[in-house]
Symmetry: D2
Subunit: 99 residues, 4 copies
């Protein structure tokens, strides 16, 4: 990480697994478009809802990965630098939104 992308200091973070994350997001975008297509094609509610549940799991998996990256990177760094309080408060607020 060069200074321009220095984690957290300027609130920019290069995700370690960025290509894999982008691939997952592209797949998720396809899932969402597929669900819209199912609704447009008058597909059975239960089948649509099953695909929505799958998309939600995919979204949650990305969130878990980003959260893990965040704990390992930004939060660990903040703790090492003596700024744990703000970093942890931010994580707790985030977990509340993610519930």
């Amino acid at each position: 990480m060069d200074s321009e992308h220095d984690c957290c200091s300027d609130k920019r973070v290069v995700q370690a697994d960025k290509p894999a994350l982008l691939k997952r997001m592209a797949r998720l975008e396809g899932q969402v478009r597929g669900i819209a297509g199912m609704i447009d094609d008058d597909r059975y509610c239960v089948d649509v809802l099953t695909q929505i549940a799958a998309a939600r799991s995919a979204l949650d998996a990305v969130a878990q990965q980003l959260l893990e990256n965040h704990l390992k990177g930004c939060v660990s760094r903040a703790v090492s630098e003596g700024n744990s309080e703000q970093a942890i408060a931010e994580v707790m607020a985030l977990l509340k939104k993610m519930r």
Copy 2:
């Protein structure tokens, strides 16, 4: 609903609020693309995760609407026709997936 789109019998359902649902899904697709863009732009993890939480809420809202449509339409019809058992078992299985 004409016979071709008869709810449940041939497992096809025209959602009563189809245009609104499709609009929501289009907006959600934009949100997902936006999140991918944030990751690509090395945006701060917490900002990305906040947008993911918003997308998840949007997806859940669509699911709630489809579930309500399903209960009001397909399940109510199944109950009236004496097929409640299978319809309710299907709903319970669905709720488990949606958790």
Copy 3:
């Protein structure tokens, strides 16, 4: 079901599997007391949280069972009697609380 316990009309419901449900609730009460004991004994946070997750699963399982009973009993009856609208609105409000 005799008239005194007639499902829904007077908002009293004898759960079909009442003894099993009560047994589960008794076990859950023990789990909750056990968690309090762990906190009192200064047990490691992660161990306490693991037990809390187990208690939450047990509580969710009881809720799933009651919801299934409710759909099979009260809601099916309401639908058969032409009162599906209120019954389904109530279920949707409940599902929102249970999320």
Copy 4:
């Protein structure tokens, strides 16, 4: 914290807000007993489920507090001592159980 209760080293943790946590757990135990009583009294499913949702929220609130204590105490300490990897893996596993 004396050496005997030294956080994490011997996996014992005195929660900073132990009396408040124990009071919450006692109240939760009462809620669980109350729910059992409602089932025993043949109370309406929706009323029982509403109380279950409240108990679940109370349990989640205790879990959030313990998780915050854990991040502030044990995890921060582990990070400072260069053991962040194991501590964060443990938190991620925990969050998966708590979903």
